[in-house]
Symmetry: C2
Subunit: 218 residues, 2 copies
């Protein structure tokens, strides 16, 4: 019994933290970052004291909330691309699936856009995965026009963010077509021949929502 | 005398508004958007009551501050490019000068980055000018690979924002070299042949600060 107790406490602590993170994600998505901590704990259905067991400030919780959402989606992308050998196709598929996220999971998308520029240079979430894929494609001789990985990553993350903003601003626009066109343009910019870039962006895509053990907050 | 009075009052009102806008730009650049209105009026050296003669809320002032800064810079870019016939070169020069703004005028740059994604779809400032230049280059047969102006603009504004973020995050990086490389990549993506894109980005640039009647807040 004495050995079990810590695990039960740990599980409860993890549940409380997860509830706070989900509540924060909801607030961020609604643009209510000025919300008092008390309201977040009520939304999470946990006691006010529980908050300070996990976070020192509200900003710390918000940061955790955003990182959690992006890590979860990034991990989904990793799973969906693990059988693809061509790093250019890995980049293309991940970018195309990320572009489709905005309409499919508008709340998660708004979390991302609300913190976009800071996250673009974060060490977690989607940016480091995009960097990994771009570097692999450069090594494999697929992105022959990339002379500076940092700048290539900056353009790709910037395009991802403004594409998301555009898809929210223009609800009537075909999100899949817009995303695939931007992906194709990026591939060409990175040095993939035009016809091949087009072909890569016409491949069938898996559905991130059909993964059995998906663990995102969206 | 009666005819002169309104002009004098108008001039004073304009001065008060400009002082509030400058104070707000300083606060935004320092990330202090939670600053009380009283502190902004003290920084502007105007009475608290003056604030409400011009703005209903602090958010309205902040919005005006950002738009003012970008309009001023955009207008400078217009002046500097008015003698250039090739719309691809107009786009290139404006993008190259915008990239150099972050180090030269870090305060204005931070105003821009702090509100970046929302401004990217704004009807004022730099985005509509970039759209105008892209559309002109498409019409002139210079940007032959642009199939959707909205998406081309989204990628360009996204690249401009993440480039600015990168230049703040990496103070040791050569801002001119990084900016010109991104500009060259965008030109190639828009359909300008690689050698020509490179040549366009090596042209000498005018200095925005030498304009006699420059009216930015930076």
């Amino acid at each position: 019994m004495a050995e079990q107790a810590p695990n039960r406490v740990d599980r409860r602590k993890a549940r409380t933290r997860a509830a706070l993170v989900r509540a924060a994600q909801t607030c961020i998505a609604e643009g209510r970052t000025a919300v008092p901590i008390l309201e977040i704990t009520q939304l999470a259905d946990v006691g006010m004291g529980s908050f300070y067991n996990h976070f020192e400030t509200k900003e710390q919780l918000f940061q955790a909330a955003v990182e959690d959402a992006l890590e979860a989606f990034g991990s989904t992308l990793d799973t969906l691309t693990e059988d693809i050998d061509d790093p250019a196709e890995v980049f293309a598929q991940s970018f195309r699936l990320t572009g489709r996220l905005h309409r499919k999971h508008p709340e998660l998308s708004l979390v991302l856009l609300h913190n976009g520029l800071a996250l673009a240079s974060s060490g977690q979430g989607l940016a480091p995965r995009a960097r990994r894929d771009i570097e692999a494609a450069v090594r494999a001789g697929r992105f022959i026009a990339v002379r500076d990985t940092d700048l290539a990553l900056a353009v790709a993350t910037g395009a991802a963010l403004t594409l998301g903003r555009l898809l929210h601003d223009e609800p009537g626009r075909d999100d899949a077509a817009a995303t695939d066109l931007v992906t194709e343009d990026l591939l060409r910019m990175f040095g993939v021949p035009a016809a091949e870039a087009r072909a890569l962006c016409q491949r069938p895509l898996p559905d991130p929502d059909t993964l059995p053990e998906r663990d995102t907050a969206a």
